[in-house]
């Protein structure tokens, strides 16, 4: 196995994101099993003060020249390649996130190393690393072996414990000078989330609808249930992409993270990107025509059936109960 394992620490708007701690936890385990050291790389103007939070690493390399903030993927990949050479690292962990999109693929091409995407488990084995990837919306897993322990591994958010990557100690911090080529992609500004009519993160009850709701008119059925329960309707990505509900109602990886008392997942398959946004709901009730839909693996209660038949019946019963 490689002598050094690198983690590309992620930050957005001056905050270290959870994926960073997940990666540090995963990297720590691999490093201990293989006798390697764990080194975090943090880029961006605010990197220096944030580096102190990465105590699970043996060392943090910091490049805090301003151009690194939201630098293009090829520039970050180039920087990582340089750090890999300096540290003799052979294994790099990155987040399988929108922020880091493309960096891993580009680094793999630059270094000639294999890339393993969507990784949700990794263990050291006989000098190598075996990674488990989740494919096809979480319906299938594949195990892939990096025989010499070298490669670029993109870690799926939510798959590794965050706490395992947190330590109450300050790591040694080292500044590095990294080459920045004139970028062909420049960051202009943030576009703040649209604030909708309702804030779905503040509801006690959410009626979530997915592609199984089939038409915009049918969304009204969910709206009626939400109304009698004093909650709101939210949705998976395909429903938002169809324009049936505004972006402010999207739950999941690129949408909102919600924790209502009750979350209805109606005609939602339970893809990892949706699950990420609602998994901490107190009670999850899933309704799906497919008895094998992944949503049933995590939901508290499940109904195999047609959401269009159940919705009107449930709305009536709730009305009757409330009197």
């Amino acid at each position: 196995m490689a002598n050094t394992i690198l983690v590309l620490a992620e930050q957005l708007r001056g905050e270290v994101t959870d994926i960073t701690f997940e990666m540090l936890g995963a990297g720590r385990k691999l490093a201990e099993a293989s006798g390697s050291s764990l080194c975090a790389v943090l880029l961006g103007a605010e990197a220096a003060p944030l580096a102190a939070k990465l105590g699970a690493a043996d060392k943090v390399l910091v490049a805090d020249d301003a151009p690194w903030d939201l630098a293009p993927a090829d520039a970050v990949a180039g920087a990582l390649e340089a750090v890999m050479q300096q540290t003799q690292a052979g294994l790099v962990l990155l987040g399988c996130t929108n922020v880091a999109a493309g960096i891993g693929s580009m680094l793999a091409v630059k270094t000639g190393l294999p890339l393993v995407n969507f990784c949700r488990a990794a263990k050291a084995e006989g000098g190598g690393v075996v990674c488990t990837s989740q494919l096809f919306g979480g319906k299938i897993y594949s195990d892939v072996k990096l025989a010499d322990g070298k490669g670029v591994v993109c870690i799926y958010p939510g798959a590794f414990p965050v706490d395992a990557g947190k330590r109450d100690q300050a790591p040694p911090i080292e500044k590095v000078d990294l080459p920045v080529a004139a970028p062909k992609v420049t960051f202009k500004q943030y576009l703040e989330p649209e604030t909708g009519d309702v804030d779905i993160t503040k509801q006690n009850v959410l009626v979530g609808v997915g592609r199984g709701i089939q038409t915009q008119d049918n969304v009204e059925l969910a709206e009626e249930l939400a109304q009698v329960l004093g909650g709101a309707v939210c949705a998976s990505r395909p429903v938002i992409d169809q324009g049936w509900l505004p972006l402010s109602r999207q739950v999941g990886k690129s949408g909102m993270t919600v924790k209502p008392r009750v979350y209805f997942a109606l005609g939602i398959s339970g893809a990892p990107e949706h699950w990420e946004g609602m998994q901490n709901s107190q009670c999850i009730i899933a309704v799906n025509t497919d008895a094998k839909a992944p949503i049933f693996d995590g939901a508290h209660y499940g109904v195999v059936g047609d959401v269009l038949e159940l919705l009107p019946a449930l709305t009536e019963k709730v009305k009757a109960k409330k009197g």
């Binding site: 993927a73 319906k139 897993y141 195990d143 992609v185 420049t186 202009k188 009750v262 009670c283 049933f296």
Partner: protein, 258 residues
């Protein structure tokens, strides 16, 4: 504008997926294929750009089951040219697929004209070896942005929106030509009536362009492929919609939602 949309067929995950006897690949017997979701948005985004700024939309695929239907549908929606590269997609990982598609694009024009946008979907559900867009951008030495959800082209450049999380997005300026991984189009993908697709099948043609096959189809050796074992399972409620609704009301009361 000179717009290339790269379309990929993926197994429809609404169907049950089973592992083949080799313990590594998917059992193809009952697989149904569909166009990768983000690719549908890439096509829509290209059609919207063409409508607004003029130009030509070329859709490109590798060979895969049911891919002709997808190409004719794209033509019926307004694409100008449909190209199929006779290399079987099933055997290829993303790295090899990117190489084949890059060869095709290089043969189209080197360098690509400055008003060119290459638009793959941002990701595919079987992207084990990485995403197509950054790999293509590297092969073509073009700038890249991924997870794109809006494009406004101007002279020699484009302003693009990229999704982060929690509804937060960022605006970037990109020099053209460029490769943009499309997550969602400015508008929902349009619907095209079956009659129009049939008409396209009669009047239009799918071009086949020969490209050299990749020397190494896959970068990664799979050890095994399997269905995940669920850590838990929901308590299932059975009965008529009325009976189920009664149970759900109890559950709602128990969770202080009524």
């Amino acid at each position: 504008m000179n717009l290339y949309v790269l379309l990929k067929m993926v197994p429809d995950t609404v169907e049950e997926l089973n592992v083949a006897a080799d313990g590594k690949s998917l059992d193809s017997e009952f697989l149904r294929f569909k166009l990768n979701d983000p690719d549908e948005h890439a096509l829509e985004q290209a059609l919207l750009l063409k409508e607004k700024h003029g130009g030509k939309v070329t859709v490109v695929t590798l060979d895969a089951p049911e891919v002709d239907d997808v190409l004719f549908t794209a033509l019926a929606k307004g694409a100008d040219r449909a190209v199929k590269l006779p290399v079987n997609q099933a055997e290829l990982g993303t790295v090899a697929a990117a190489r084949v598609l890059a060869d095709f694009l290089k043969a189209e024009a080197t360098p690509l004209p400055p008003d060119t946008l290459v638009l793959p979907g941002s990701y595919a559900i079987d992207d084990l070896e990485g995403e197509l867009a950054p790999l293509l951008a590297t092969a073509l030495e073009l700038p890249y942005v991924g997870v794109v959800c809006g494009i406004a082209p101007a002279e020699g450049k484009a302003t693009v929106r990229k999704e982060f999380a929690g509804g937060l997005r960022g605006e970037f300026e990109v020099a053209l030509p460029a490769v943009l991984g499309i997550q969602s189009a400015d508008k929902p993908p349009r619907y095209v009536p079956v009659a129009k697709v049939r008409a396209a099948m009669k009047s239009a043609r799918i071009e086949t362009v020969d490209v050299p096959p990749p020397d190494r189809p896959r970068q990664l050796e799979l050890e095994r492929t399997y269905k995940p074992e669920a850590a838990g399972h929901a308590e299932m409620l059975e009965g008529s919609p009325e009976e189920v609704a009664d149970r759900l009301v109890e559950i709602l009361v128990k969770n202080s939602a009524i």
